[in-house]
C-alpha cells in the first residue's frame, strides 16, 4: 500500500518561506498572488494491506517523527 503524508504549518504559524515564494511569484509578474504557505509531502510504501492498521501506524509515525505537532499538522492519504 502507498501512503501520502501531507505536513503543513498550523494556521497562524508564520511561514517566512511561503511569504518569500509569494513575493517571488509577484516579482515574476504573476498577478493576484494571495497568501502562500509551504508544506511537505512524504510518500511511504507500506507492506501493510489493512487500511485501518496502516492508518494507525502512519498516525504514530507522524506523531513520533514526521511532524512537529507544536507547529505542524498532518493529513494521511492512502492510495487504493
Amino acid at each position: 500500500m502507498k501512503a501520502r503524508v501531507f505536513i503543513r504549518l498550523k494556521n497562524g504559524v508564520l511561514d517566512p518561506q511561503g511569504k518569500a515564494i509569494g513575493k517571488a511569484l509577484t516579482g515574476l509578474g504573476f498577478a493576484g498572488i494571495g497568501e502562500v504557505r509551504q508544506g511537505k509531502l512524504i510518500e511511504i510504501e507500506l507492506d501493510e494491506t489493512d487500511e485501518a492498521a496502516a492508518k494507525t501506524a502512519l498516525t504514530e509515525m507522524c506523531e513520533k517523527l514526521l511532524a512537529n505537532t507544536v507547529i505542524e499538522r498532518y493529513e494521511i492519504e492512502l492510495a487504493k
Binding site: 504559524v13 508564520l14 517566512p16 518561506q17 518569500a20 513520533k64 517523527l65 514526521l66 512537529n68 507544536v70 507547529i71
Partner: protein, 222 residues
C-alpha cells in the same frame, strides 16, 4: 565537574564545546557518538551545535530519535544538567525536553554574527555567575533559531522565570517570540540556547562572556 559532549553525524561545534569544557574544568570531556546508548556517569551533558543529519526533515528531528538521546532524556529526568547549544537546542525541543519549536529565521537568512544578549534569569545552575539584566555578547550562527510556542507556554516561561537569555532590544536576529534566545526546563536542569557560549571562553578567539556559564556550572555542581 565531569562532562560529556554528544557527537551526531554533522555536528560541527563538538570540538569547540570540548575545548571550552577542558579549558574551564581542567578535565577532558567524554565524547559520545550518537549511536552509543551508554553515557558514563557525568554531571553535565552538552549537545553541541551543527547540522545533525543534514537538518533532514526538520532541524534536530532525526537526532532526537537517535539511541543516545534516550539516555540523555533519562539522565535529564534524573536531574543531570543538560546544555543544548544551537542545534543542541533544536534537538532538545524535538525531544520535548524543552517546550516550543525553532523555525526558519524570519528574515530567511542564515545569521552569523555576535549578538547582544540580556541575562534574564541569574537563578539557575547555568547562569548564577551572571547578574540578572547583565548584557553579554555571544556569537550566533543559525538559519533556524526563530523560537515559537503557543501563548500558554510563553506565559508559563515568563511567569516561571525560565527565559534565561533574551536578545538585546533591537538585536533579535531571527524573529523569535518574546526575543527568546535561551530557555530552561521546569526543573531548571536543562538549558537550550541558540547563541554559542562555548565560542567566547577565550580572549584569543574573540571574547570571554561565555566563561561565566561554565563557572556557574562548576560552582553549582562542584
Amino acid at each position: 565537574m565531569k562532562s560529556a559532549v554528544v557527537i551526531f553525524p554533522a555536528s560541527n561545534c563538538d570540538r569547540d564545546a570540548a575545548v571550552a569544557l577542558e579549558q574551564m574544568t581542567g578535565k577532558k570531556p567524554h565524547l559520545i557518538w550518537h549511536a552509543d546508548s551508554d553515557i558514563p556517569d557525568v554531571d553535565l551533558i552538552v549537545l553541541p551545535g551543527g547540522f545533525s543529519y543534514g537538518d533532514y526533515l526538520r532541524c534536530g528531528a532525526m537526532a532526537s530519535q537517535s539511541p543516545v538521546m534516550r539516555t540523555v532524556k533519562e539522565r535529564a529526568e534524573k536531574g543531570v544538567s543538560v546544555l543544548g547549544i544551537c542545534n543542541g537546542f533544536q534537538i532538545l525541543t524535538e525531544t520535548h525536553l524543552l517546550p516550543g519549536a525553532l523555525m526558519r529565521n524570519a528574515g530567511l537568512k542564515f545569521v552569523c554574527r555576535p549578538v547582544g544578549l540580556a541575562v534574564c534569569e541569574a537563578q539557575s545552575r547555568f547562569t548564577r555567575r551572571y547578574s540578572s539584566g547583565q548584557t553579554v555578547v555571544f556569537p550566533v550562527a543559525h538559519g533556524e533559531g526563530n523560537y515559537t510556542a503557543d501563548d500558554d507556554t510563553l506565559k508559563a516561561l515568563e511567569a516561571e522565570g525560565r527565559i534565561a537569555f533574551r536578545y538585546a532590544e533591537g538585536d533579535n536576529p531571527n524573529g523569535s517570540a518574546h526575543d527568546i534566545a535561551g530557555i530552561l526546563n521546569e526543573k531548571r536542569n536543562v538549558l537550550g540556547l541558540m547563541p554559542h557560549p562555548e565560542r567566547v571562553c577565550d580572549a584569543l578567539i574573540g571574547g570571554t562572556d561565555g566563561r561565566a556559564m561554565f563557572e556557574s556550572l562548576i560552582e553549582a555542581i562542584g
